[in-house]
Structures are given as C-alpha cells and as structure tokens.
C-alpha cells in the first residue's frame, strides 16, 4: 500500500513490539509475527486477473473437479434479480414479458438489471443490508429503552445513498466524519448518526465505565463495518487471534475520544446528539472542541485503572502510521483522518470487505463467509483471486456499488441454475465454489413486503418517520411497562415496506424476529437462517397473513379464474393442471367445512392484563376484543390502578362489543361456545355505553368458577340479581336464550333456567345487545334477534372484504355530470368526499330532472361532525346553505336519528326516527320517491325506517348530496329511474354490490363460504416453499 501520505509515529515502539519487548506499560507481551504480516487480508490487493469473474470461477471449478450448472430459466432469473435488487417479486406479466424477450438472455438480463437499479425500491432493499451492518435501531435499549429521536433520518440517508449510487469512499467519509468535512452539509451531519445508533444505558452502574462502553461501541462498529476487523477483544487484553494489541485498541479508540457521549436529548442539552438540518433535527455527533481529553490504556479494560497515555495512531500491523490530523474550530479532526485512511484505495481491507458484502448479498454467502471478521477467527477466504478482482474493480469503478451489481450479476456464475447435482454435491455441498446458484429464503422484511405486494396492499410511501406494526397483547405483556414506547399507526401506514417499521430494541416485531431478523445490538455481517415451528405458526395463523390472504382472495375473485389468479398473484405463474386439481379439491372441502361455521361470530380478547396507560389510550377499542369489523362497536372496558403508569384490566368490566343498532324488547337466542382457555363470557342486554364502560344487564357465564349470574351494571357499579352454581362446559356449544317479559328477564342456558326480577319489575330501558370474553375466545352460533316482525339472524361480516382507504390525497376534479354548490368536494377511487361546512351541495345533473319513480341509494360515512344525507327533487339550486328546494334525507349523528325533510327555502321536518348511526362507519341510505310516497331504508334492512305520504308532493328535480357541519364520504351512489340505472359510482372497494354493511346485514353473502375457502387457499399459497424461497 502507499504509505507516503502517513508519517511514522514513534517508530521505536513498533520495533520494540516486533522484538517482543514489553514496552511502556502494556500488560502483556505482544508481538506481530512474520506470519501475522504475511496474512492475506493485510496484503496489498493483487493485480486483477484480467480474465474476469467467470474465468476465475471456472478455473476453480475445474481445479476441484466440479461441473458448472446450466443457466437458470428466464423465469427464475427475473425472480432472482427482483429479489436481489428490490426485495420484491416481479408481477406475472413482468415475468411473461421477460420470458418472451427475443434478445439473447445475457443482453435481456443486462437491460433488466439496469432498469431495476434505477428504481427507488433498490435503495430500500440494499439500504436494509447496510442497516444490519451498522446495528440500526431506533431506541437505546435497557430499562427505559427510550427512542433515539429522528434516527429514521439516518435510515433515509442510507436509502438515498444507495439510490444515488453515492461512491462508497464518500459514504465512509460522511458516516465517520461528515461533520468534519468542509462540504459535508446536512447529509454529512445526518450520516454521522452512524455513531448514535448503538445501545445506551441511561442508568449505568458506573458512569466512568459507561463512557468507555460508548467508545467501544463506536470503535467496534467502525472496525467491523469498514475493515472486517474485530478489535473489540483487545479492550481488556491483546487480541487472541489477530495482531491487534491492547495498545492498538486504545490508540484507535482515541480517534473517537472527543465525541460527546450520547445523552438523553433534553431542552438545552440536545446539541450532544441532535443537530439542526434543513429538514429539522437530526441525530448526529459533536465533539467537545478542537482538543481532546487524554486517552489512557485501561488495565484489563477497567476504567478505574488507567495506564499509559496513548495518542491516535493506526495499529501496529499497519505500521503504526499516524494519519495527518487537522483540527477544525469545533473538533479534533481525528475522525476525518481515520476515515480518510479507511477510504483510501491503498487500504487493503476496505474494498475487500465491501466487495465481499456485495457478493454475499447476491450469492447468499461471502467469499469470506464471516464478512465482519477477516481475521483468523473468521472463515478463510474461499477464492482470494476472485475477491481481489472484485475489490480492484470496485475501486476502478469509482467505488460505485451499482457498477458492482452489474459486474457481479452479468456473469454466467450468477445466472446458473440452483438445481442439485449429485456428483458436485459430494465435492462441494455448500457450493462454496459457485458451481450452481443458491436457493435462498426471503428475509423477514422481504417476506412481509412480498405478502403485502401480492395482496396489493403495499403502500409505496417512502421515507419519513417510522410506522408501528400491530403487536399482539401477549407480545406487549413481556415489557415492564407493557406498550410503553410503542405506537399505533393507521392501516395505510402499516402497509409500508418493512424497512420503515419502527425498530425497538427490547420489543422487536415478532414477525421479523422469528424470521431471523437483524441483531440490533451490534454489527451483523450475515443473518443466521433457522427453520423453526414458530415460523410455520406465524405464516399459518398471524393476522398479517390472514388479512392479506383475504385481500388476495378478493383480487382473485374479480377475475374469471380465481384459482389461476391466486397463483399468478402469489407465485407469479399459472397453475399446472395437477395443481388445479389439488386446489379445487381443497376449495370444495373447505367450502363445505366453512358452511358449518357460516353462522358463527367469534370474539377474541387480545390484551395483556396490564398496560402502560399512554399505549392503552392509543390502542383502538377493536384491538382489545377482536370480532366482526362491521355491525359492532367496541369498548375497552374498565382499567384501574395507575401505579407507575401501569393500569390493569378489571375482570368484571372487561372489554366488550355492542351491536350497532338498538334492540329494545327483543328476544335473543343462539349457541355460545367457550374455548379451552376462556375463563368467562358475558352477554350484555339493554346495554348503553358510558365512556368505555356500560350500563345495562349482563348474563355472566363463568367457566372458572362454575356459575351463571345475571347482573345489573349502573353508574360504574354492578349488582348481582341472581346467581346459580352451574358447570359451564368448554369446547361445546351451549344453547341460550334471553327474553324480556313484563319487566323480567328470562334466561335459559343449556338446561338451566332463571327468571330474574320476579320480586320487583326491572327497568329495562333502551339499549343494545353485546358480548365480552375473558381469557380466550367466545364463539356464537345461530344467534338471532326476534321482535314482533320476525327473526333476524346475526352473522359475522367479513369486514376485511369491506375495508376502504380514506380519500387522502384526493383529486379535486369532479367527474362529469356533477355540479358543486359550495363546499370542497374531492373524488378518489370513486369515493366522493366533502369537508366540514355549512350546507354544501353536490348535484348530479347529467340526466336532467328525474321524473317518475326514482330510487336513490348511496353509502356514506361521516368522519367528523353531525348531519349528512341525500337530496332529491331539487330545484333552484344556488350556492348558499338554504338556497334550494327539494326533499332531504339525512343522518343526524348527535341525535342518533334519520330525518326526512322538505325544503323550500325553509326546512320542515316530515319524519324523524331513531336510528343507530355511528361516526366512522359506512351506512347506506336508500330513498324511493314515487308520487306522494317517500320511503327511506337504512343499512340494507328490508323494512323501511320511514314510509311517508307527502301532502303536497314536490315537482321533479335533480338528485344530489348535502351535508351540514360534517366531514363525509359517499360511495356506491346509484340512481335509478323508471327501472333503469342512470348512474352507479361503483367504488373500487370490495362488497361494492352488496348492501353497505353499516348495521346488521340481514341477507347473508351468498358465497361467504366460497370466499372464506378461497382466502384459506390464498393463505396456503403464502406458506409454500415456492413462495418463501427463490431459486
């Protein structure tokens, strides 16, 4: 290597060491042997073998008696390239297109690589590799595990660096000394966040030792990341395998000595870790000034036993060179000097180490299989000529990483098939010499991203603060303050790529952890790969997989051939006929078996017994008790305590769900089943929510204590009205019915009958039917509500098929045929939104005045405010709240009613009925005007809510939408006249043709079992090895 730039410091010491003398105060004798000096990794790079990668590898193959595999198929190649460069899968049509490309494969593949390298998803893939190496996490670890503010800016910096193909030498300089560079700028400051990513104990046992722990973290990470050297061992004693002495360690550590220690950012003290950049604040380093404190060697690494003073100098194996250190006004310049030595093309390790990492991420295994340890304790280099070729090529290409992808991927070696070969397998089972491609498993993040990609849910939003994946209650329960430091993100945020997920050291997202995610505690060169049963459980049963499988099923059902479509979405190919048979057999059976469960509604509690109160406040009530998403409203129940910010669930006030419509004076009957671990179930009657609790009656089935009780809850207390000892068998359906008769409640559970309120009549009042579960799930079957008019079965609505994204970022253009009169109306995906204002109108005038019998149906959801509805027979519309004539049918959220009115520059209420309307839920209004008769239906119920004869019918007019002080979305707007559909704004949402599932769906989905069976099949496809592994 070129050494002229460095002056030799204290040459005598190296000499003394070389002679094996115990110079100064080092604890033990340390010498660098001739063998150390001759070790391959410390040698200058060899002149590259001009023959290139394939020739180098082929030579090795023939030397070992190995035969190269034939090339992989085009289908395999495009998958491999997408996986390698983007961490995503090509779509079916992309695969077909590539397979049909007439150009020779090498040429077509080279073009593909160029195209992929230009995509922003590339940085998200390769940036993640780098985050493994630099121990990226967003919290400190230890007791409080507080967040490192704005750590995500570093993550975004890394992604951008890969995408812009920042030369690697510059990448090194910025991360190690971006603040000391004259042209470092904001990027340079953000890049030094590198130093701040490590674990940090905010309550160290020994503050003096903690300073050196911090220093050690910086030094170890730097040396392992950039140099593949494990110097950490030399903190307490000379390195046992590599020529790194304890003196070397402290001399290297002194480069970082002046960096201000990490501390909790607090007002006034933020400067130590946070610095201002244009975009805000960034995690960064500052030094204590241009002059550093002295650094001493510490005997046995003990901060209380300093020995001789050391100065910044490179290890003896590099000749104890002392780089030129030029202090700036605010820092010592030491880090920049070190960074320049590392980024120097003459450094024998830097280019080798990074070239090896690139090779490893392409082939699954490095040429040195321990990429963080090029020393003797690491794996030996498998092909030194190849590694040096790559390292030289890396430097020659201006340290361009994208250049290296082209160099590596445009080889025969990379394009080889991964098929086994018996003879080769005996000689080189681990494929160290590249006679074949390697079958590779998707990493945790890739797996998650590809599941979201297959379902179409993947949100491509890039950069910015992180999202919080949903955690199950049992995961949160392991924390000393369960849920502290975790957040709740909206559904679209949660569907972002995995690299944007929040990384909390003491609570790694289980999906990631189980699939061998990065070790967040220290630099990680390569991830271990394990195959364990919890991975299977996760892919079979997790919420993420089952939600996305339902979405895939939905997408597949839009096509003529759902089975084929499911294959194409998940696996990127058509099924062969044998697979179709397997699929159809599975579906037929599943359909049949699902039919048995068709009438079931399942409620599953998912909350830890204790929660940190801020997290409790963030979590939506639907998380505490999970059940059908539509038709039910959820509540958190009563939580008490507050000791150290922790609150506890109360067994007598558990989280519960109420049916969304009031059901006065009804009879409920059905079957209830407690699962193996379910301790209690409650059936709530005439329940009215009071905050997160309720008032009303409850039928308690207590399996643990073996009793049935009827309680009356009121004002935060409950009274037991009647109680009977009775065994509640688990795992079998118990018939129950509850009836209100003359101020009494008649309860029948199995063969037990109770009549409650026989001494004095109960005050029933109004209220709703509800459910709670404790310990485990409760399953209802064949539940029906009966009133004088009939019997209405309660059915689980597959809410995952009816979820809608809100129209954020909506277009301001209205489609043709619509005219706005006041208000800000927006449209996206055929969902029309309007902001909260007084009386804006949107009229459909494409067909002129609508005569004859008119039916007007629309789904609407009030997200904020009070009144929203439909208007008909509109004449004389003008801008201004009251400037129009016509009928209005509106939902009143505050007063919980449905109102029909007539407006002739003045509003007259014609009819008003109580109605269960809920903010944030989709409702459906259907209005029919035929002559003098106006009928209004709500939420798909057969019986009209309003059936009104108008004394003085209004003349024909337009139909439209009107709101009052409400933020509303409308969708699936259907206007029919004379039996013809004039307009149907079908939203790109599921269940578009079904009634808006706002309340109880009385007509079951005719193909519920089929849909569920297909969802099961899609989830099955997500479990296949073909999905998990790339050839």
């Amino acid at each position: 290597m070129s050494r002229k730039r460095y002056k030799r410091a204290c040459p005598g010491i190296a000499l003394l060491f070389a002679l094996g003398l115990n110079c100064v105060h080092a604890e033990d004798k340390f010498e660098i042997t001739a063998e150390d000096r001759a070790y391959w990794a410390f040698q200058d790079l060899q002149q590259p073998n001009p023959a290139g990668i394939d020739a180098i590898i082929d030579a090795k193959l023939s030397e070992k008696g190995l035969v190269a595999n034939p090339p992989a198929s085009r289908e395999q190649l495009i998958r491999r390239a997408y996986f390698d460069l983007l961490g995503l899968a090509p779509t079916y049509s992309q695969i077909r297109e590539f397979a049909a490309d007439k150009a020779p494969v090498a040429e077509a593949f080279a073009r593909l690589i160029d195209r992929l390298l230009a995509l922003p998803e590339y940085g998200e893939r390769w940036g993640r590799h780098w985050l493994d190496v630099v121990r990226y996490a967003q919290t400190n670890g230890y007791e409080r595990d507080d967040e490192k503010p704005n750590a995500w800016r570093y993550r975004d910096y890394v992604i951008a660096a890969f995408n812009s193909d920042k030369p690697y030498d510059r990448f090194i300089l910025e991360q190690l000394a971006g603040d000391e560079l004259t042209d470092g700028g904001d990027e340079g400051l953000i890049a030094t966040g590198f130093y701040r990513l490590g674990v940090f104990d905010d309550e160290p046992d020994d503050k003096r030792a903690a300073e050196f722990d911090g220093l050690d973290d910086m030094l170890r990470t730097t040396s392992e990341t950039f140099l593949g050297l494990t110097v950490g061992c030399a903190r307490c004693h000379d390195h046992m395998f590599d020529p790194i002495s304890q003196v070397d360690y402290y001399e290297l550590a002194s480069f970082f000595r002046n960096v201000r220690q990490y501390q909790k950012p607090q007002r006034g003290k933020e400067g130590a870790v946070l610095r201002k950049v244009k975009a805000g604040m960034a995690l960064s380093v500052t030094e204590k000034g241009p002059k550093a404190d002295d650094t001493h060697l510490l005997i046995r690494g003990d901060a209380g036993r300093p020995a001789q003073k050391v100065t910044p100098r490179l290890p003896g194996i590099f000749g104890h060179l002392q780089p030129d250190i030029v202090p700036t006004t605010v820092s010592t310049g030491r880090r920049l000097a070190l960074a320049k030595w590392i980024a120097d093309p003459a450094n024998p390790l830097t280019a080798r180490v990074m070239a090896n990492r690139i090779w490893q991420y392409h082939f699954g295994r490095g040429i040195v299989a321990t990429p963080n340890d090029f020393g003797k304790a690491g794996h030996p280099v498998s092909n030194a000529v190849l590694l040096d070729f790559l390292a030289q090529e890396f430097i020659r290409g201006g340290w361009s990483i994208k250049h290296m992808h082209r160099v590596v991927m445009n080889t025969r070696a990379y394009r080889r098939s991964s098929s086994p070969h018996a003879a080769n397998g005996k000689i080189d089972p681990d494929n160290i010499h590249h006679w074949r491609g390697n079958l590779r498993r998707l990493e945790a993040e890739t797996l998650r991203d590809r599941i979201l990609q297959a379902s179409g849910a993947l949100n491509k939003k890039r950069g910015g603060s992180s999202f919080f994946p949903v955690l199950n209650g049992e995961v949160v329960a392991g924390a000393s303050k369960p849920g502290r430091g975790w957040g709740w993100s909206r559904a679209e945020e949660r569907n972002r790529r995995s690299i944007y997920a929040f990384v909390k050291r003491t609570m790694v997202y289980p999906f990631f952890e189980i699939f061998d995610y990065s070790n967040t505690e220290g630099s990680l060169g390569s991830r271990p790969e394990t195959t364990v049963a919890p991975q299977a459980l996760l892919l079979l049963n997790s919420e993420l997989v089952s939600d996305n499988a339902s979405l895939i099923a939905r997408r597949a059902l839009e096509k003529k051939d759902p089975v084929g479509e499911a294959f194409r979405l998940v696996l990127g190919r058509d099924p062969v006929s044998r697979e179709r048979v397997t699929a159809e057999t599975f579906l037929a059976e599943a359909r049949q078996k699902h039919a048995v469960t068709a009438g079931q509604i399942r409620f599953r509690p998912d909350f830890p017994p204790s929660l940190f109160k801020d997290y409790h406040a963030l979590l939506p009530a639907e998380r505490f008790l999970q059940g059908p998403g539509a038709g039910w409203e959820f509540f958190k129940g009563k939580w008490t305590g507050g000791y150290e910010g922790i609150i506890n669930a109360e067994v007598d006030w558990p989280p519960f769900a109420l049916l969304q419509i009031a059901t006065p004076g009804f009879r409920f009957s059905g079957k209830v089943r407690l699962e193996k671990n379910t301790a209690r179930a409650m059936i709530l009657l005439q329940a009215r929510p009071r905050g997160q609790e309720f008032d009303g009656y409850a039928l308690l089935l207590d399996a643990d204590a073996g009793r049935v009780a009827v309680r009356h809850y009121s004002g935060g207390k409950f009274e037991t009205l009647s109680e009977r000892q009775a065994a509640i068998p688990r795992l079998q359906p118990l018939a129950f019915s509850v009836e209100f008769i003359n101020g009494q409640i008649r309860v029948v559970v199995d063969d037990l009958e109770m009549l409650v309120g026989d001494s004095k009549p109960l005050d029933m009042g109004d209220g709703r039917f509800g459910v709670s579960a404790w310990g485990g799930p409760v399953i209802f079957d064949e539940v029906a509500i009966e009133d004088g008019n009939g019997r209405y079965p309660l059915i689980d609505i597959d809410y995952r098929l009816s979820r809608v994204s809100p129209p954020s970022g909506a277009s301001v253009h209205l489609p043709g045929g619509w005219s706005a009169f006041g208000g800000k109306w927006t449209v996206r995906d055929n969902v029309i939104g309007v902001t909260k204002e007084k009386g804006p109108k949107l009229l459909w005038d494409a067909a002129g005045k609508l005569a004859g019998e008119v039916s007007f149906t629309a789904g609407l959801r009030v997200t904020d405010g009070d009144i929203a509805g439909l208007i008909m027979n509109v004449t004389d519309p003008k801008v201004g709240a009251d400037n129009w004539n016509g009928y209005e049918v509106s939902l009143y959220l505050h007063e919980q009613k449905l109102v029909l009115g007539s407006h002739e520059n003045n509003f007259i209420t014609l009819a008003s009925v109580p109605a269960p309307v809920t903010r944030g839920k989709w409702h459906q209004i259907r209005t029919q005007v035929a002559g003098d008769r106006v009928k209004v239906y709500l939420d798909g119920r057969d019986k009209p809510y309003i059936d009104f004869i108008v004394k003085k019918p209004l003349p024909p007019g337009l139909a439209g939408l009107r709101t009052w002080g409400a933020e509303v979305e409308y969708r699936n707007i259907k206007i029919e006249s004379g039996g013809k559909t004039l307009i149907f704004t079908q939203a790109e949402t599921p269940a578009a043709d079904a009634a808006e599932p706002g309340g109880i769906v009385l007509a079951p989905d005719p193909d519920r079992h089929g849909r569920r069976a297909l969802a099961q099949f899609c989830s099955l496809l997500l479990n296949l090895n073909e999905f998990l592994y790339v050839d």
Binding site: G141, Y142, E143, R144, V199, D205, R220, E224, T230, G232, C233, H237, R365, A369, N372, A377, P420, G425, P429, D430, E474, V475, A477, G478, S480, P482, T506, M507, I514, N519, G522, L524, R527, P528, T530, T531, V532, A533, Q535, A536, L540, E543, R578, F586, E589, K593, R602, P608, P609, S610, Y643, E644, I646, N677, P777, S1019, N1023, L1024, N1025, E1026
Partner: protein, 488 residues
C-alpha cells in the same frame, strides 16, 4: 447458510427430526415421515437443526432447570441471611456505599421478621416464608454472591445473560444451544411472566443475543393463548387446519422433488407437522385440569389474594410452578418463572418499604414454591431437576425513604439451589456482619452461572459461540469457577 451457526453444523444433524426446531413425532400430515429415510437420502450439508438433542459434556443428574426469578431483588437479610449484628445495631448511623462509589451516611435497618433455624440442617429462614422454611433441608443456600450493577436494567441482564451490556444470550438460551430440546413438541427454553408485566428490560432477559432466534426463550402464558399465533384466526377448526397443512405439504413435496439437496426445504415441511402438533401439545402441557385437588392445593391454587392493592393471588405463581413441573416432565430443559413485574412494589424492589414488599410478595410465592419442592420430591423428580431461586441482586441493610425501604445491593446477596446434584441442607458463604457485602467465600454471579451449567452437565468453558472475533461464553473472559461448596 450462515457461518455464524457453523458450529451447529458439526453436531446433531441426525437428530434433525426431534425438536421444537424442526420436528416430527406422532401424527404426520406430510405422510412421508418419520423421515430418516427421506433425510438419509439428502446430503447433510445445509441441514441444521438448532435444537437437536446434544449430549452433555459429562454425566449429570439434572436434566432440567426451573429458575424461580424474584425480579426486583429480594431482601436477603429479611429472608435467609440472618444478621444478629444488624439487629443489635438497628437504627445506628453508618457510612454505606449505596450506588457505585457513592458513600452515604445511612441508618441501619434491622429486619422486622423473626428468624429461626429449620430442619436437621438448622438453616436459617425467616417467618416471611413459613412454607419454604419447611424445606430448608433440601436447599443449598449461598449467601455470598456479588455482581456488577446497582441498576435493574444492567443487573437483570448480567444475572440472565452474564454481562451488564445488552446483546448477549441468556442462560436458558445457552442451555438450549448446548443441549438442544429433548421434547420434539415443546420449546427448549420457556419463560413465564408475572401478570403485572415483564421485567426490565423486557425480552432482552430471555434473548438469544447474537445466536439464532431459535434459542431464545419462548414466552408461554399460563392463561389465554399459550404461544403466539398458536391458534388459527377466524372460523378455522383444527380439522380445517389439518387439511390446510396437508395441502401445503403436498405442494411443498412437489417443489422439493427437483431440489432434494436443499435440506432446509424438508425441514420446513417437518416444521408444519410440528406446528400442527403444538396446537394440541402446548395446551396439553398447560392444562392443569387433570391435576388432583390435592396437588392444586399443594401449590396454593386455592389461596386468596393478600389484602394489599398490588398483590395477586398465590394461585398465579402456583399455577406457573405446577406448569413448570409439567413442562419438565415433558422434557423442557429450562423453565424460568418471574415473580414480580413492572416497577417498584409490583416486584421485589423494596425501595418504598421492605415490610410492605414482603407482605405483598412472600405469600405470592411461599406455598407455590414449597408445593413445587414437595411435589418434585414425591414424584422422584427432584433428583433430576435443578431448582434455582433468586433475583438480580440483594438489598441494603440500611433505611431508604420513610417507610423502611431498602435500596439495591449488588455487593452481597443470597441465592438458593435445590435438586439434581445440589448438596442439600447447605449454607455456604457469608456476608459481612451487617449483611452488606459478600465476605466469606465470595462468588461473582459468573461462578453461579458456571455452577448451574455444571449441574446441567456442561463445562462453562466449552459452551461457546463465535461472535465478534471471539468464542463467546456465558461466563465471559474473566475466569469463572464452579462453586464446589454447593455440589453434592
């Protein structure tokens, strides 16, 4: 395959099918198992089962360990370490190191408990634990442990993982790494938590650190869903789950046909069989309904909650102790039970009153632990099971706060061991006369770790894992020794 697990390659390929990692036993949905035939045909190159059974380094009595972790740091001078000098000087002012290099004038606080000698061994135990006191002849009590941190976060880490720094594997993970799991249908290392919350700093206490995640503790809940994602979501019956797995395996077998040499593919097929079995085997291990009323009472499942607002019924810890016995019976290697969760008086962290703290927590564990010892003995399991009791540190002999609290004390504290290979009825080591600092036969916790490994048949010098350029060990680089005085 990653080099990090290269040491695993050398071992245990044959036992591939027999563990939580990738297992096959009982019913097979894949139809081609038990698969020695299948796997016999595959080259072993990439076949790694992290939890294959591996032999101990030397013959041993203990096959399993139940670690009763008193999170927060129980007070030695109120439970097992009787200090007459402290009682004599109760209320006197002394200089005492309260945090690292922080010496404060403090008032001595004698115990309010009554100590008595018990059994033939005459071991001391206070009246705070009357039921455990009846078993003193079974215990080896070490009173002279010390460790390196005054703070919970780093102290818990050191007690569980050997270092005060985060990122190292825990004791249970090391045992799983060294011995594998002898039950094909259950994890090798199980952790059960207090309902009030986990310990500081959470999952790092049962982590596998730089080792593969397969070795980390599996948190098992004694109520509710025992293992994460164990049950299907929605209306999917066990039978339907079986159909699904059968179909998955059929597809996977077809996929495998052209890729026979990739043993991880076969391993994954096997892992689905295990997942299916876990659905019944895990709840079965946790299901105590078949235990007799007498057994339930033995563990205190019938006892009511104490009257302190923060206390919980002994039934909780009792149920976990009973389940621990059931797990050990079924071959689980390492079970760690946490008593105490969250912060301060919710666990053994008695800053705000040691009497109050004992009143909350002693009844929660006393009958359960006594029941566990009695039950193990009557079933002849005690000889094969190592029981370890203790927290992350002990407490100070001086007052803290107004309510007679005690601060953390890593300089001297008590642990006890019982069962396989342990010398029963032993009192070993001493603190100074005030109970502050280990004085006679001092041992760092790394020696305790070495001893536990030894009792499990492992040489702590040989339980290693390569990381960061070093063959890492639980006991670290400072030499550790097995505490011979505790061995039978």
């Amino acid at each position: 395959m990653s080099s990090i697990i290269r040491d695993l390659e050398k071992q245990g390929r044959r036992d591939f099918l027999r563990s939580f990692g990738t297992s096959m036993a009982g019913i097979s949905l894949s139809g081609i198992f038990p698969g020695e035939r299948v796997f016999g045909a595959a080259p072993a190159s990439a076949l790694v089962n992290p939890l294959a059974v591996r032999p101990a380094h030397f013959p041993t009595k203990a096959k399993a360990c139940i670690y009763l972790y008193m999170y927060g740091g129980p007070s030695q001078m109120d439970l097992f370490d009787y200090k007459p000098e402290l009682q004599k000087n109760d209320g006197k002012e002394v200089d005492m190191e309260i945090r690292r290099r922080e010496i404060r004038k403090s008032k001595l606080l004698g115990t309010r408990r009554v100590f008595k000698q018990h059994g033939e061994s005459g071991l001391w135990c206070s009246d705070a634990l009357p039921n455990i006191a009846a078993h003193m002849d079974k215990l080896a009590v070490i009173k002279s442990l010390y460790m390196d941190s005054f703070a919970h976060g780093s102290a818990n880490l050191q007690m569980n993982c050997g270092r005060i720094l985060q990122g190292h594997p825990s004791l249970g993970a090391w045992v799983a790494h060294a011995l594998g799991s002898s039950n094909p249908n259950l994890p090798g290392f199980v952790v059960m938590l207090d309902p009030r919350g986990g310990p500081i700093p959470g999952a790092a206490n049962w982590a596998s650190g730089y080792m593969p995640a397969a070795f980390q503790g599996t948190v098992l809940r004694s109520t509710g869903n025992p293992i994460l994602n164990l049950s299907p979501r929605g209306q999917v019956t066990h039978e339907m789950q079986g159909d699904k797995i059968r179909t998955i395996n059929a597809f996977n077998r077809a996929h495998l046909a052209a890729r026979q040499s990739y043993s991880e593919l076969s391993a994954r097929i096997a892992s689905y069989d295990l997942a299916y079995q876990l659905h019944t085997s895990a709840p079965e291990a946790l299901d105590i309904s078949a235990e007799s009323l007498k057994t339930r009472q033995l563990y205190g499942l019938d006892l009511l909650k104490g009257d302190h607002a923060l206390s919980i019924p002994p039934a909780h810890f009792g149920r976990q102790c009973l389940i621990a016995r059931r797990l050990v019976e079924r071959g689980v290697r390492f079970v760690q039970l946490y008593s105490g969760g969250g912060h301060q008086q919710q666990n053994w962290d008695a800053h705000n009153g040691v009497e109050e703290n004992l009143k909350i927590h002693c009844p929660e564990i006393d009958r359960p632990i006594a029941g566990l010892l009695a039950d193990l003995e009557q079933r002849g399991m005690l000889e094969e099971t190592l029981v370890v009791w203790g927290g992350e540190f002990g407490r100070q002999p001086v007052w803290q706060g107004k309510n007679g609290g005690r601060d953390h004390n890593p300089k001297g504290f008590t642990y006890w061991l019982a069962g396989g290979g342990v010398k029963p009825g032993t009192s070993y080591g001493e603190t100074d006369p005030l109970g502050h600092e280990a004085a006679v036969n001092r041992h760092h916790v790394r020696d305790l770790h070495a001893t536990i490994l030894h009792l499990m048949g492992l040489d702590h010098e040989r339980v290693t894992y390569p990381y960061g350029g070093l063959d890492q060990k639980l006991t670290g680089v400072v030499p550790a020794e097995v505490i011979k005085g505790l061995l039978a």
